[in-house]
Symmetry: C2
Subunit: 384 residues, 2 copies
């Protein structure tokens, strides 16, 4: 049946394994998050009696956090409910070879403590990504995220409206916009909602699972609830802030969406998009620093844009692969990046530094992160 | 000669070992920091030719960063120059048992790759602390840090002036102020400069080595130069920002200081300060969340204050030991902390949230951290 080469088969097996690992992380979300609460309870239980007494009220909150985990877990389960068939080309609904269906014990066994500990560490890391998905739901699809979206998405959307004004382009569906690093899909959805044809592309399965749920299964406004900050144990003014809930989706993405002009793709931007002169506009938000080699991203954006097409970018230069021992990351600062963009052939039409932007920030936290992002608009010339 | 018990001897041996490890980290500062530049150069050298060409200018900056490391290394060497005799009770000027004097190779040897890699990891972690000392020098002792000091230290100093006004207390040297978590000593020095008798206490040898140099060896204003941001490779608008230098000290701490009323102690706050009713005032800045158990800190501050004495605090609740696997950290939020403070016996005279404060922030970075700190003033009552 299959004519795949051995190398392709290995790739496919690796992909299936990764898929299962991500599903498992969603399944373990509650158990791992609950472990953190149990740890706090245990620590308090071995304190001197008078310290325990002074933490009585705090202990009642730890109990409340467990209820928030239950709420979050309902959403987490909805997210992975139909992921096995979410991709048109692959069915992942195979039996879990461990046969444990996500209830395997992570306790240390006698024979191999070190491997068990490594496995637990990896699981915790993955569960933190699930926790971060919950925060991204708030950023992209809740009223609470409106301010962040205004900072990050509005400059891009305004620019698009300016570059492709209704006077000049009466049929906006002819304008093909690509949003790489689409995350939970709100920016791409907003672009499509304005009438442009828009495709979002995302690499992370954590994000793809959640965006699949929101974009395809959420048919009612504010039907679901998450407690996005329940995992933040430090820098709280009050435990009440840790309990705060957010409803989603603030709009009805599947109901309102003009399906014919909106799509999402899964996979590595550099592998998925190779066709030259295909897109009218590429919009990147908190994306270009996700490449080990940012030059490859810029070159590819140049290639896939139609002559006269626009690249609109907003975000910092965090360079996510910097200082990862196994990655060959390069980290050119903004001024050198601009020279590279020009050198590749773009005309830089607009550029601005110091654009205040937040990313999934807990508004009540005593620790606040803010990016002084850069915003720029480039054009691929009609002829070189 | 020694009448120490075996347990005390073990403690002393561990302390000596730690002392040597910290000295070694200072010695390896340049080598490890240089390694990071070499890594970038190597990554660029294996890129495609046209990418290498596009990074030519960036490569010239990597070369300039090396010169900054040399400048920093001169300061780093001055800092450890006389540390062997800095403590009155212990002479650490013993021969390094490895006999390598800080030029040992961290390359992987054939017999024990894993240990070599762990050792390298630990060294890198320690060298990052040296890099952070350089940033703390800017915070505490340079013109560039003036804004941060205004945010963090001024509210505390103003409060002290208000609580111990010159009308009531004409001889301020009778007022004994303790600053636990004194870091590089600027706040404690400022307190002493206002005439109060002040003692700073610090646990970290990294900080103690640097404060010893600044407080006891710096006799000339702005004599030395550091490049505090040269180790930040991401979120730069331009490489020029990575090159920025700061001169220090902005004041002459050893020359101007009224020596008789200012001192610094080394060691764990809970071990060093056990005497009841000793201090007129305890001032804590970015300190109380450095305890695994913050209640112990509050109880101890209460104990050591004279009846009628003040505790002035400013900082966030980052809880530095949170989620460290080996530590029993508790993380009560601010409102619960206030209840504990009252329960211990303090009268809360003043309290404020949302006090904007930064900590060793690179002003040009595209990523900005800001704390919404809490500020409060408590008093130990005259009678219970």
């Amino acid at each position: 049946m299959s004519s795949a080469s051995p190398a392709e088969e290995i790739d496919e097996a690796k992909e299936r394994e990764h898929f299962r690992a991500v599903v498992t992380a969603f399944k373990y979300y509650k158990l791992c998050s609950l472990d953190r609460i149990h740890k706090s309870e245990k620590i308090i239980s071995i304190l001197p009696q008078n310290h325990q007494r002074r933490l009585e009220k705090y202990k009642t909150y730890l109990a409340k956090f467990k209820k928030c985990l239950d709420m979050n877990n309902s959403v987490v389960h909805l997210i992975i409910k139909d992921v096995n068939t979410m991709f048109e080309n692959v069915d992942h609904s195979v039996t879990d070879p461990s046969g444990t269906n996500g209830v395997e014990s992570f306790g240390c066994n006698y024979n191999n403590c070190e491997i068990a500990s490594q496995k637990q560490h990896k699981m915790q890391h993955d569960v933190e990504k699930v926790q971060s998905v919950l925060k991204n739901i708030v950023r992209d699809w809740s009223d609470m995220g409106a301010e962040e979206r205004k900072q990050c998405y509005k400059p891009i959307l305004d620019e698009m409206e300016e570059r492709f004004s209704l006077d000049e382009y009466s049929d906006r569906s002819q304008i093909r916009v690509l949003v790489p690093g689409a995350g939970l899909g709100r920016l791409a959805w907003e672009v499509a909602a304005r009438g442009y044809t828009c495709q979002g592309n995302e690499f992370s399965l954590f994000m793809l699972f959640a965006s699949n749920f929101i974009l395809n299964r959420c048919t009612e406004i504010n039907k679901y609830t998450v407690h996005p900050w329940v995992h933040q144990y430090v820098n709280n003014i009050t435990c009440e802030h840790q309990l705060i809930s957010a409803r989603f989706p603030d709009v009805c993405p599947s109901g309102n969406r003009p399906n014919h002009n909106f799509s999402m793709t899964a996979g590595d931007f550099l592998k998925v998009y190779t066709e030259a002169d295909e897109w009218s506009c590429v919009a990147t938000c908190f994306f270009i620093d996700c490449a080990p080699n940012v030059i490859e991203f810029i070159e590819r954006i140049y290639t896939i844009l139609q002559p006269g097409g626009y690249w609109i970018n907003l975000g910092p230069l965090l360079y996510h692969y910097s200082d990862m021992p196994t990655e060959n990351s390069i980290e050119p600062p903004y001024d050198i990046l601009l020279e590279i963009i020009r050198d590749i052939g773009f005309d830089i039409l607009k550029e601005q530094t110091g654009v205040k932007t937040k990313y999934a920030q807990n508004p009540n936290s005593m620790m606040q992160h803010e990016y002084d992002s850069v915003f720029f608009v480039c054009r691929k010339p009609y002829c070189m």
